[in-house]
């Protein structure tokens, strides 16, 4: 009934709730980093026979998702010393409420899905969906560009979690490629954030409204 992985997952789920309610960037970064670590730990609990190469890979994932990327964004904030609010378009209470509804919705969806029998967890799919949609929500409902990047990261965390549902086999090379893409993407976004700061003296995406029909 109770799988050890679910205990871990519920913390990842809780982190996405906190992310919706958090108003400050440093807090949000910590939450996303924490979630990254938790999410990359999940396969260790799921897989039955763990090889040493797999463990190395998980450690690597954890380092990139949980430490390197959040740290890079944190240093970026320090460097360009921008305002620390996430500048919400949808308020925190409404976001939080949406998050709760989302958890309910994703667990309902989960019951409608026919999942492969290999997964030994009840929370995996709902957590993955919730994290994914929460990431999208933050991406859309926050004007601050850094918060948007963090939302994107959260989305990737969710997708990674969905990816663990199918039997892993020898996908590590591929997963590693995906990870590299995410890392490179965040780095490019970070460079653009720096440029944005230089151009507008802020990272509020409301400034990006020159191009329209």
């Amino acid at each position: 009934m109770l799988y050890s992985v679910d205990t871990v997952l519920s913390f990842a789920l809780l982190a996405s709730l906190f992310a919706l309610g958090s108003s400050r960037l440093p807090g949000l970064i910590k939450i996303v980093g924490f979630q990254g670590i938790v999410v990359s730990m999940v396969p260790i609990f799921i897989e039955h026979n763990i090889t040493s190469s797999a463990v190395t890979f998980y450690m690597f994932t954890m380092t990139i998702r949980g430490i390197i990327i959040p740290l890079a964004i944190y240093l970026l904030i320090k460097k360009i010393a921008i305002r620390r609010e996430v500048q919400p378009i949808i308020g925190y209470h409404a976001s939080l409420f949406a998050g709760l509804m989302l958890i309910v919705a994703s667990s309902i969806i989960n019951h409608k899905l026919a999942l492969p029998a290999t997964t030994n967890s009840v929370l995996l799919m709902p957590t993955a969906i919730t994290i994914l949609v929460t990431g999208m929500f933050i991406l859309m409902a926050r004007r601050n560009a850094i918060a948007m990047v963090l939302g994107y990261l959260m989305m990737e965390n969710g997708i990674y979690l969905v990816g663990t549902t199918f039997s892993m086999g020898t996908h590590h090379i591929v997963e590693f490629g995906i990870l590299l893409d995410v890392l490179a993407g965040v780095m490019i976004m970070a460079i653009m954030l720096e440029n944005m700061k230089q151009k507008f003296d802020d990272v509020d995406t409301a400034f990006l409204s020159e191009l329209k029909e």
């Binding site: 989305m155 997708i159 490629g177 893409d181 440029n195 409204s209």
Partner: protein, 525 residues
């Protein structure tokens, strides 16, 4: 061979970040040429690629690869002249010198050359990848590699365009990753034991779990559809294509969209094999029609010619998606459109680079009388317009004709009706704008006569001055002078010529390749 195609441009790209820009430009052409030759050799030899789980040589991939190679080579030639002219143009601007933007742009050029080479490498990887996830990795990598290209001008607008491009495409493509994972889950649920590659999945498609497969397809379509510029996920496309420098726009529009389409095409193949062709076809047709209609509304009252071309790309992608959705002969038409759109649209975007340098503006109302001011560019531009709008001798016409025929044959009368009507509207809107640009009155009319000599003198004197950084005021580049450069006009002509030749004489191997690609989606009935 396969390894070389992917790795060589990548290494060259990294080298280009560090070498002087003049050498970089030479490197660009050299790599373009090598890549083209290698692609043709690949076409002829068809070797087995290394890591057969991850890479494969497929007909549709080869087709795209050849288009990419050809386009890249011609665009690299064009870039020689364009980058030089751009540099002069920017340095001649008084404000640019003060604000150091010009100097920044020169720095940007190294990044431009490096990124465009890496971009080539990633696109090659897309065409050759067979594993679903590798495909995703490659397509996401194209986004990342092409982002610096759009940010070439270092202006606020280009920053905005790049930001939108990176964020929207990354999020969109993340959906595609989700879709790819769903397809992998479909394998697990259906208890299929095969590599997660398109070719392997196509052969076992019948055993996959249909619900997960459908979900996966929808997500992949939304994801790669974002990259391909299907409405309503197209919002990044006009911005990115209009803000990018013209060689980059030509590459983005000409081949990047094809790469995204390749992902959809391959997934659609699996759907057809699994017997879900109707499901995927209807969705594709819907997205296609929405894109065409959206493009029509924006083309009618467009004020910038580069955005006009961008919306035309959305329209063509809509046509291609529509054709693919119909299946059978429609797919054949779609692939024809795909090839010809690449050739013609990149030619148009390159010409738009000449116009931008000549007129110094992107607004249609400030252009005009192109037939007199820039006759050589005009020929390329007008011929390109005729091709893209679907005039009979060009391939787009043939492609659209096949699609319409297939639509009527398969009984999609309403869809075909909307399709034809919208194409007519687009044609009207497009030609209206085109007439304004080509024959309309221009502010520049009176300076044609005494223009050249004065400007030439100015430019000469300015070249001396640039070393002393003395302010010499604004100089607009001489339009005709710019056209003297063969490298800035020849590629367009070659691209259009290729397109025309392909209409009348298609090499047998090319035809076979297209037919092989089509075969899995019903073939020609």
């Amino acid at each position: 061979m396969v390894k070389t195609l992917i790795i060589l441009p990548f290494i060259a790209g990294i080298i280009a970040f560090f070498i002087p820009k003049k050498a970089g430009r030479k490197l660009l052409v050299a790599i373009g040429l090598i890549h083209l030759i290698a692609s043709i050799l690949l076409w002829v030899e068809r070797p087995t690629p290394p890591f057969p789980d991850y890479f494969a040589i497929t007909p549709e991939g080869l087709l795209s690869l050849l288009v990419i190679s050809l386009l890249f080579f011609l665009i690299s030639i064009y870039s020689q002249g364009y980058l030089k002219a751009e540099e002069q143009h920017l340095l001649s601007d008084h404000e640019n010198l003060i604000s150091n933007t010009g100097i920044e742009t020169i720095k940007a050029e190294k990044i431009f050359i490096g990124s465009i080479l890496i971009f080539l490498s990633t696109m090659t990887m897309v065409t050759l990848s067979d594993h679903i996830m590798v495909m995703w990795i490659a397509i996401e990598a194209t986004t990342l590699a092409s982002a610096p290209l759009i940010y070439f001008h270092r202006t606020a607008a280009s920053l905005e365009a790049t930001w939108k491009y990176v964020i929207i495409c990354s999020v969109g493509i993340a959906m595609a990753l989700l879709g790819s994972i769903f397809i992998a889950i479909a394998m697990d649920v259906g208890q299929v034991n095969a590599p997660v590659s398109f070719s392997a999945l196509t052969s076992v498609a019948k055993h996959l779990d249909p619900i997960w497969l459908k979900t996966g397809f929808v997500f992949i379509l939304v994801g790669y559809g974002t990259k391909m510029g299907l409405a309503p996920m197209h919002t990044w496309l006009p911005d990115a294509h209009s803000e990018a420098p013209s060689p980059a726009s030509a590459l983005l529009s000409g081949v990047l969209l094809n790469c995204a389409y390749l992902g959809i095409f391959k997934t659609n193949k699996i759907m057809h094999e699994a017997g879900l062709g109707d499901f995927s076809g209807n969705i594709l047709m819907t997205f296609g029609l929405i894109s065409i209609i959206a493009a029509a509304t924006f083309i009618l009252k467009q004020t910038e010619y580069k955005r006009l071309l961008a919306y035309s790309s959305i329209e063509n992608m809509g046509i291609i998606a529509f054709g693919t959705g119909i299946g059978g002969m429609g797919v054949y038409g779609a692939l024809l459109c795909l090839i010809h759109h690449s050739l013609i649209k990149s030619s148009l975007f390159l010409t738009s680079g000449n116009m931008l340098l000549g007129y110094g503006t992107k607004l249609i109302k400030e252009t005009g009388n192109m037939v007199k001011l820039m006759p050589k560019s005009f020929v390329a531009f007008f011929a390109g317009f005729a091709g893209i709008a679907g005039f009979p001798p060009f391939g787009i016409f043939i492609g659209e004709f096949f699609i319409i025929m297939a639509a009527f044959r398969s009984g999609h009368f309403v869809a075909a009706g909307i399709f034809i009507l919208t194409l007519c509207i687009i044609f009207a809107g497009f030609s209206n704008q085109m007439m304004k640009i080509s024959f309309g009155p221009s502010d520049h009319d009176n300076d044609t006569a005494n223009f050249s000599k004065i400007q030439m003198d100015k430019i000469r004197s300015y070249r001396v001055d640039i070393h002393n950084k003395i302010d010499i005021g604004k100089i607009s580049t001489d339009k005709k002078h710019m056209e003297q450069k063969l490298s800035m006009i020849l590629p367009q002509y070659l691209l259009l010529l290729t397109s025309i030749i392909l209409c009348f004489w298609m090499p047998d191997s090319l035809y076979q390749t297209i037919m092989n690609a089509v075969a899995s989606m019903g073939g020609l009935k």
